[in-house]
């Protein structure tokens, strides 16, 4: 009965917030009494009683609204996961859109104007966290191995979609019976370019829940990120052209040049900010607390700077995240790393939720112009052009790939091409001078609904039905690291023997350049000399040590995690050899125990920690051991926060904990 009570309380809370929103949307402004009146030096003012309680709503209106919306979004998210069977069948994005529809409907019923997803709000506030989260945690290895395929899908696939759809819709509009003869080719092409791009937010939201194998995931996801440049160029191009009305060959040529400028320029801007962030992180050893802020701010600046020049902001964000990550992670403390991870996941989660809810609300709000033929044709053409595009491109790509794309892969890539909020925002940005704006918006919303609801809901059962390879769960293994590096060297050598300058050759050249020139500038202290294998091993042992301390398995003589705030991570404590051996023995024993357990190296939105960490240690036990440790720790307060750094050159197994000798 306790849990029922909680459920009732929860529903009450949700209703409270949900009603609160439309009500305060229509709240008239209350003027504040008292304080303002007393500043009037008007003698004729009669003396009023000092107001003990006054309502000043206007003062807090804006932040209050924002907070209320976010709260509603998060409560909804919470609610879905409480209902077990629902979240297994329906993807979260669908549920959120439905909630948005309900809220929008409520607001409309009350008689107010529901807010529409403001494009500026979307592009400047809601989209960047999601993209940064995606870019910072982008799995580099599968991405670079498939970058050719991804680029082909992103660039050529999007171009194909845009022109195919635009052209056929124009042909449709020429038919008399449709009644849209006023629409010219450029408007149709503009519409095609808006609707053709695969949306990263929608793809992330749906693919996260189906755990598909890494190859297909990175193909669809990478495509959704990289097609931003194409979308930006096409959109701006057609917008300009439709204002002018005519297109010359020179314009087309300039368009192509523009594409290269937009994409490469975006990447360049991102890379510059990435290097700046890496360089800054070199000096943060004394101010650990603000380290995460540098990461966030530099990335956001990269996005804003490139948007300023009409370059591709998404590519700038991705480039920034990818470039700065290896160096920043070598410099920052473990806690900062966790903070960055947490904050990015948190912000991107909130953003995503808000985006979908607002999509629902905007559907209720937006001006609509419905034309059955146009809308239905758009949806069908979307599917058809996507399928044709994927099949055609895969046929060509497979001639150049070592691991070919199977029919199942192709199906998921085609079916996973979801459209989302970016298309809506771009459509919303269209100036009102476009006569067809409302029709376009309606069609875009219909396409989004179709892809998110129909494709989003059916993709999971289809994946099961077709027995598509799922993501392999793997724990970070030192074996894999060693052997992968071994194979890298082997392949580079064999390529050298064949005289073949391939993938491995250039990767090796880049690594060498990185090691000799770049690392010494961007990584603090002596660590730039550290080989990657050693860094990996150290991090692995550190993670294991922390986990063991937190679960109470390591003896409490390690007052580690709590006093780690200001400890320089590079400080090697003066540990006696005996203690070191003891610790190593304990770790080894723990490794024996954990051998069979599987962890997921996922970057999913919902789970930050590895699955077994939460399985093993129940909340209660963890809290108990923590309390026990804290009690014992009060006896160990003599451990100083900062330890002197050791002589450079002596390298030992290092722990971040302040080990007492």
């Amino acid at each position: 009965s306790g849990s029922f009570l909680l459920v009732y309380l929860y529903i009450f809370l949700v209703v409270f917030v949900g009603i609160g929103l439309p009500i305060e949307a229509s709240a008239p402004a209350y003027q504040s009494h008292g304080t303002e009146g007393s500043h009037l030096t008007n003698i004729t003012n009669t003396k009023k009683a000092f107001p003990v309680l006054a309502v000043n709503y206007e003062h807090v209106r804006k932040p209050f609204e924002i907070a209320l919306w976010i709260l509603l979004a998060l409560l909804m998210k919470l609610g879905f996961h409480l209902i077990p069977r629902l979240s297994a069948v329906v993807p979260e994005s669908c549920l959120l859109i439905v909630v948005g529809l309900l809220v929008g409907g409520l607001i409309k019923v009350i008689g107010e104007e529901p807010p529409v997803l403001d494009s500026q709000l979307f592009f400047l506030c809601l989209l960047p966290p999601i993209i940064l989260d995606a870019g910072y945690f982008l799995p580099i290895r599968p991405f670079t191995e498939n970058v050719g395929t991804i680029l082909v899908f992103a660039v050529i696939g999007t171009l194909w979609n845009a022109f195919f759809m635009g052209g056929l819709l124009y042909a449709l509009c020429q038919i008399e019976s449709v009644g849209l003869s006023g629409v010219d080719l450029l408007a149709c092409l503009l519409f095609g370019s808006i609707v053709s791009a695969v949306d990263p937010v929608a793809v992330l939201a749906v693919f996260e829940e189906i755990h598909i194998n890494e190859l297909v995931h990175i193909l669809v996801f990478g495509e959704s990120l990289l097609n931003d440049a194409v979308t930006v160029v096409l959109y701006n191009l057609f917008e300009e052209f439709s204002k002018v009305g005519t297109v010359t060959v020179l314009d087309v040529f300039l368009g192509v040049v523009c594409f290269f400028v937009v994409s490469l320029g975006g990447v360049l801007v991102g890379a510059i900010y990435g290097f700046l962030a890496a360089f800054t992180s070199r000096f943060t050893s004394h101010t650990r607390v603000i380290e995460p802020l540098f990461v966030f701010l530099y990335s956001y600046m990269a996005y804003l700077s490139s948007e300023m020049f009409h370059l591709s902001g998404i590519m700038a964000l991705i480039a920034c995240g990818v470039v700065m990550r290896p160096y920043v992670e070598a410099n920052i403390s473990h806690k900062s790393y966790t903070t960055i991870k947490y904050f990015l996941k948190m912000w991107s989660s909130v953003s995503e939720t808000l985006i979908f809810i607002f999509l629902g609300v905007s559907t209720v709000a937006g001006p609509h112009a419905w034309n059955w033929t146009f809308v239905i044709t758009t949806v069908i053409l979307c599917l058809v052009s996507r399928v044709l595009g994927v099949i055609g491109l895969t046929f060509i790509i497979n001639k150049f790939r070592i691991v070919k794309l199977t029919k199942k892969d192709q199906f998921i890539v085609a079916y996973g091409g979801l459209r989302g909020a970016i298309a809506f925002s771009l459509g919303y940005l269209l100036s009102n001078s476009h006569q067809m704006r409302n029709l376009f918006l309606t069609a875009i919303i219909t396409v989004i609904f179709f892809t998110v609801f129909v494709q989003g809901m059916t993709i999971r059962p289809l994946v099961e039905l077709l027995a598509v390879k799922k993501k392999k769960e793997s724990k970070p293994s030192i074996n894999e690291e060693i052997h992968t590096e071994f194979l890298d060297h082997l392949l580079t050598g064999v390529e050298g023997v064949c005289g073949h300058y391939g993938h491995y050759h250039w990767k090796e050249k880049l690594n060498r350049f990185n090691k000799t020139y770049v690392k010494r500038w961007l990584i603090a202290g002596e660590n730039f000399k550290e080989p990657e294998l050693i860094a990996f091993y150290r991090k692995m042992e550190l993670k294991q040590a922390i986990m063991m301390v937190e679960s109470g398995q390591l003896p409490s003589v390690l007052p580690s995690t709590i006093s780690m705030q200001n400890i320089q991570p590079r400080a090697i404590p003066r540990v006696s050899k005996k203690r070191e051996e003891e610790i190593r023995r304990i770790l080894r024993a723990n490794l024996q125990n954990n051998k069979q357990k599987m962890r997921s190296r996922s970057y999913s939105r919902h789970t930050l920690f590895d699955a077994d960490e939460e399985d093993n240690v129940s909340e209660v036990r963890l809290r108990k051991t923590k309390m026990e440790m804290e009690r014992r720790m009060s006896h160990y307060l003599t451990v100083p926060a900062n330890r002197e750094s050791p002589r450079p050159g002596v390298r030992r197994v290092r722990f971040e904990s302040g080990l007492s000798v």
């Binding site: 074996n479 894999e480 082997l490 392949l491 064949c498 490794l591 030992r652």
Partner: protein
């Protein structure tokens, strides 16, 4: 040099190599011209010095081991057949080969043969086990001279511990395969030879 090279390689030889390794005609001729360009002594075989002259191998941490892999047991010269036989391990696996009759002998570029090639590079004494010392040697080659022996030792210990399943404190070939089952070996150990 070009015309002389092609006359030195007889058609029957090309056919034999094709059957043994699966390379195409043009790939074989292309690799033959690479072979002859490496063969400074012009005697139809390559010696270790010829390999060491390749700049990419000179700076490669595993350079010596790779060179040794080309030479059969105890010999100092390798002819073109042997050269191709070693390179055949790196040919991409083709779809039609995957479904071949399992009774026929396995092609050189099958997944297990690729893994066996890599395994042999660790296992110098050919006892079908990667011992702690052999692993240490490879680790030392890869990380350079700055890391202390003890740290390298603990890495080696942990590596063996992770992989070892029968408790003999070394990695057998089957354990090696198991550890690498998540790595896409077919893609990783394949070079896209130009047609």
């Amino acid at each position: 040099m070009g015309s002389r090279a092609s006359t030195l390689l007889r058609e029957e030889e090309i056919e034999e190599i094709k059957k043994e390794t699966g390379f195409s005609h043009s790939q074989i001729t292309r690799l033959y011209s690479r072979f002859t360009s490496l063969d400074k002594g012009e005697n139809g075989t390559l010696s270790r010095e010829d390999f060491q002259r390749i700049p990419e191998l000179a700076i490669n941490p595993l350079g010596d081991r790779i060179i040794n892999a080309f030479f059969p047991e105890g010999e100092d010269q390798v002819n073109f057949r042997g050269f191709m036989r070693t390179l055949a391990h790196f040919r991409p696996i083709e779809d039609n080969e995957k479904n071949k009759d399992p009774i026929a002998s396995e092609p050189l570029n099958s997944r297990s043969n690729k893994l066996l090639f890599a395994f042999r590079l660790y296992d110098l004494d050919r006892d079908d086990k990667i011992s702690r010392d052999e692993l240490l040697q490879v680790l030392r080659m890869m990380v350079g001279v700055n890391i202390s022996d003890e740290q390298l030792g603990s890495i080696a210990d942990r590596t063996i511990q992770e992989a070892d399943q029968n408790g003999d404190n070394s990695i057998s070939f089957n354990e090696f395969i198991k550890v690498l089952e998540k790595v896409d070996v077919e893609q990783k150990m394949s070079i896209r030879f130009l047609h």
